[in-house]
Amino acid sequence: MYGKKVKLRILFLFLVLASIILSVYLILKSLEENVVYFLSPSEIKNLTEINSNKIRIGGMVKNKSIIIKSEEINFIITDFKNEINVSYSGSVPNLFAEGKGAVAEGYLKDRSYFNAVKILAKHDENYMPPEVKEAIGDK
């Protein structure tokens, strides 16, 4: 027979392994449900189906497209090939302006209409989120 100490070791190892497997499973599963994908307006145009997952879109805010009402802001995000209408009610970051890059998080209504729930802050006049830079090419 194995000694008490060995038995304890085996039990301990078993518990550790089991808990590692369990937590990895939990983490991966909920990762699958909770990630937010980033798409450019052109990628949205090419989507085969619209699902109800939260996504992020990014590009330039089109010139003369911001319309402000007291409860809502509407604007167009473009990557110079395709564009998408965004409607948003919430707080906007200070550097949000026409002709500047922006990233919005929210839900697609259809291929050209987006309901944003958050506009992500940028912190510097010259800073452009890497995703946006890529989405609009090297302009």
């Binding site: 008490k4 100490k5 304890l8 808990s19 937590s23 990895v24 939990l26 983490i27 991966l28 909920s30 990762l31 909770n34 990630v35 937010v36 994908y37 980033f38 939260k54 992020r56 911001i66 402000i68 009402k69 007291s70 409860e71 802001i73 009610s89 919430g90 707080s91 906007v92 970051p93 200070n94 550097l95 949000f96 302006a97 026409e98 802050a121 912190h123 510097d124 006049e125 010259n126 989120p129 890497p130 995703e131």
Partner: protein
């Protein structure tokens, strides 16, 4: 000019001394003598001294706005207030690494003079391991991020410091955080030295506990400062966003907190020695990776200003070398103390600490995977994703329940073996009491979901148990009581804060008003003033409640001159009961202001409870220091 030269050459001299330590201490190591050569103390002191001079040189360059220095040019401006000129020294990549180095050399010097009751060979080995890290940082500084790079022709004006960093909390946040990070390097070196010298013992545990506590206190305080800053400066009205950069400071904190607990087991029972060493290695590696992830530009985040692949590769290679060697040392030298058969029972303090560590490691892996998974996915498949708060909330909140329960029961168990009989009437009474309180509160605020309900109950349970222990056990374990009590309060205030917070976001012109719940918010006027390095627009808002009591809030917009950046300064009215938070943003070329008004209950209690947690650590530290 001169300060710059002095800074540079004194950095080189420091490097010279840090190399010199190695042969001298190897010679001393092989000596039969039982005391450390005085030469080592002096060389170590000079190493620290020259880095300190170099750091002062850099501060002077910043104060004098010496734009012949590249780091000053990139991060400072003549119109900046003196305070932010000084704090700009470590507000950038080069300066912050010099600060890392300064703390590294300071800590090893303190370690040498404070560890006289430890064996000589162990002390010298710790010094040697620490020197490896120090030399790595010297090379990194001199090769890829020299803070004293010379610019010619000398520019007339600097580029300025990012205005969101021009803030008192953020001026001291990096140094405090670094003290915590770098403290973990001493734990790392000394546990490797202890493994090699087979010095892992009760004596060692007692001695290293001081370092663990010091790092833990600084790290906790540093994270708290960052969080307070994010609350009032970023204008999103939250205090934790699961931003990768925040996560990166939280990960070593989980490790260090696990270490604070398992070092107790090592001290009292001489168990878990391998685990302690692994945790020590992991803590420091996470601190290093933190610096790497933040500074390499991999993380797309608030803090990413530097973006230089060469730096990233250097730190990455350095990091992997350290991981490889430390694990190699661990596997080659580590032997468990197998002489005596140790009994482990399920119902004992050590088992509950093991459970506590298990949960902390689980939280750590959740945060780790959530932070690095998007990076890997982008490298491997070019898909861009982000992992938001729901991921963390879903995986962490439910597991806080058993965590809290173990936190309440664990400290009441005995070492080695406890009897079930110990679960006595007082514990049951505390449970009933917390059940009653939770029910009363839920009646008032309505149903909040099953998990939240149980969580509130569990947090209240910990709350009452720690109060009971504090008074009934004659302050025997007051440091633990303080921290655990603080933690229960933290969970409760975060919970009620997130459940009861309410906000209204609207676009407003001057003179307009809006109503929210039972209050009317009137945008009365704006006023603009010129300041030294920014122009400010102050909005005057009056908030009237039903009884016609009114308060005034004055959020501010600052338009900085260099670089041209607009920041919002929220105005917050804090009471013990709730915070009223008002922030306005500018929509460019438009008469509308984007206004966000929030009522955040128990906000101040989040900070108070964090301070309580830190006080617990401080008490434990003082207790340890006075025991000697």
């Amino acid at each position: 000019m001169l300060a710059n030269q002095i800074g540079y050459y004194s950095l080189i001299s420091g490097f010279f001394f840090s190399i010199l330590i190695i042969p001298v201490s190897i010679k001393n190591f092989n000596n039969k003598n039982q005391i450390i050569d005085n030469k080592i103390f002096s060389i170590s002191f000079f190493q620290f001294f020259f880095v300190l001079v170099s750091f002062f040189g850099l501060i002077l360059s910043f104060v004098n706005s010496d734009f012949s220095n590249e780091a000053v040019f990139n991060n400072s401006h003549t119109t900046k207030p003196l305070f932010y000129k000084i704090s700009g020294t470590w507000g950038n990549h080069e300066g912050s690494l010099l600060l890392w180095l300064l703390v590294l050399t300071l800590f090893i010097f303190i370690f040498l003079i404070k560890s006289t009751n430890q064996p000589k060979k162990y002390r010298i080995l710790t010094l040697l391991f620490q020197q490896v890290i120090i030399i790595g940082f010297f090379l990194f500084l001199l090769k890829t991020s020299n803070p004293f790079n010379y610019l010619f022709p000398i520019p007339k004006e600097g580029l300025g410091l990012n205005p969101i960093l021009q803030d008192p909390a953020l001026a001291i946040h990096p140094p405090i955080l670094y003290l915590g990070y770098v403290g973990s390097s001493i734990i790392f070196s000394s546990s490797l030295a202890a493994v090699v010298e087979k010095h892992i013992s009760t004596v060692w545990a007692k001695h290293i506990k001081v370092w663990i506590l010091v790092s833990w206190i600084f790290l906790t305080f540093g994270i708290m400062l960052g969080s307070i800053w994010a609350y009032y400066e970023l204008g999103w009205g939250g205090f934790w966003f699961w931003d990768p950069v925040e996560n990166v400071s939280l990960m070593p904190w989980f490790c260090l907190t696990a270490l604070v607990h398992c070092i107790l087991v090592l001290e009292k029972r001489l168990l878990l020695s391998s685990w302690t060493v692994i945790l020590s290695i992991a803590t420091f590696m996470l601190s290093m990776s933190g610096t790497f992830l933040v500074r390499s530009g991999i993380l797309n985040s608030v803090h990413t200003f530097a973006n230089d692949p060469e730096r990233g590769i250097f730190i990455l290679i350095f990091l992997f070398t350290l991981i490889f060697f430390s694990l190699a040392i661990f596997f080659i030298f580590h032997k468990e103390n197998n002489q005596k058969i140790v009994e482990i029972y399920w119902l004992s303090k050590e088992t509950s600490i093991l459970f506590n560590n298990w949960f902390l490691m689980y939280f750590l892996s959740v945060v780790l995977i959530g932070t690095v998974y998007p990076i890997f996915l982008e490298v491997l498949s070019d898909e861009k994703i982000s992992v938001g708060p729901p991921f963390y909330h879903k995986l962490i909140i439910p597991f806080l329940i058993p965590f809290l329960i173990f936190m309440s029961i664990g400290p009441n168990l005995n070492w080695i073996k406890s009897k079930v009989k110990k679960i006595n009437i007082k514990i049951i009474l505390s449970f009933l009491f917390s059940l009653l309180i939770s029910l009363l509160i839920l009646r008032k605020i309505g149903y909040v979901g099953l998990i939240n309900t149980i969580l509130i109950l569990a947090a209240f349970y910990l709350f009452f148990i720690t109060i009971k222990d504090f008074f009934l056990k004659k302050f025997k374990n007051y440091s633990q009581n303080f921290s655990h009590f603080g933690f229960s309060l933290l969970i409760l205030s975060i919970l009620f804060n997130s459940i009861l917070s309410s906000e209204k976001i609207t676009n407003l012109k001057v003179g307009e008003k809006f109503s929210f719940r039972e209050e009317t918010i009137i945008f009365e006027s704006i006023e603009s003033t010129e300041n030294k390095n920014y122009k400010s627009i102050i909005g005057y808002f009056k908030i009237k409640d039903k009884q016609n009591n009114s308060i005034q809030l004055k959020p501010e917009l600052r338009i900085y001159n260099q670089p041209i950046i607009i920041t919002s300064e929220a105005d917050i009215k804090t009471t013990l009961h709730y915070d009223k938070f008002l922030v306005m943003n500018l929509v460019k070329d438009n008469e509308y202001f984007n206004v966000r008004y929030q009522i955040k209950p128990f906000m101040i209690w989040i900070w108070i409870s964090t301070v309580l947690i830190i006080i617990g650590g401080l008490l434990s530290l003082f207790k340890r220091l006075y025991e000697k």
